[in-house]
Point group: C2
Chain length 154, copies 2
């Protein structure tokens, strides 16, 4: 019998595996550096996330195996009568389980967590190059009502 997929906040021991997953991706391989030792910038980011009550780095796992990762940010806004939002970013699943529902379970977990935190809205942006990802999120109930604009800074 297959073990159930579970979720927990990532620990520093998971970081190596998380960066490996982020780098094993069509867009990620151009911008990540999965090396040993791991570049210090990853450890610093991990520490900044962990020390911030409004950021959660979450892993999906089965037994000892990490299967997926996502980051959820909770933000208070004045707009929408002072409503909190949850933003999902950096969703990846390990290549061996792609198409097996781990991504769906991750997002459902984030939705549940956003409700627990009292958010009125959950949001994310997805690169227009990821055509499958857009369909995936729409199937889960997200509406692509917005343009996602980015500017790189030097």
């Amino acid at each position: 019998m297959e073990k159930e997929i579970q979720f927990r906040i990532a620990t520093e021991q998971d970081l190596d595996r998380i960066v490996e997953m982020l780098a094993d991706d069509e867009l990620g391989r151009k911008r990540e550096r999965y090396e040993q030792p791991l570049p210090e910038s990853y450890t610093k980011a991990y520490q900044a996330i962990t020390s911030d009550a409004n950021n959660e780095l979450v892993v999906a796992y089965q037994g000892n195996e990490i299967l997926g990762v996502q980051q959820i940010t909770f933000t208070p806004y004045i707009t929408h009568q002072g409503g909190w939002r949850a933003t999902i970013e950096g969703v990846r699943t390990t290549s061996s389980v792609r198409g097996k529902g781990v991504g769906t379970e991750l997002i459902k977990w984030a939705i549940q967590r956003a409700k627990e935190r009292g958010c009125h809205l959950i949001q994310l942006t997805t690169d227009k190059q990821r055509v499958d990802a857009l369909r995936f999120y729409e199937r889960l109930g997200f509406k692509s009502t917005h343009e996602g604009l980015k500017m790189k800074l030097e």
Copy 2:
């Protein structure tokens, strides 16, 4: 001679004027409640923003007059080698000065602030119903590379 537009972190005394601006907007009038006294949810959100070192509510002003508002959120991510991002949200200018460059100055200020905070990317989403807004951000150098997906939560 016209006074220069200046910028500062909003105080609680600015909140009434900020909500008035948010409500005086095509989409905002459907979802905000500009009433006296101001609904408590706005005050609570203001306090949550102010007590979070990674959130800044910024106003543009000239003399005693508030001309615009925006919120900037700074977020550490594991992606992009552990890079920080700035997210702009809730950008509004007072109707009497629309088209006079206050919005441009607000966004330029946010870009400068994002650089000071060491962000590698600045981002925002804009409702696809706001056709002029998309052009406005593209003129400022943003690229609409992403779909912005949202889901309302009960």
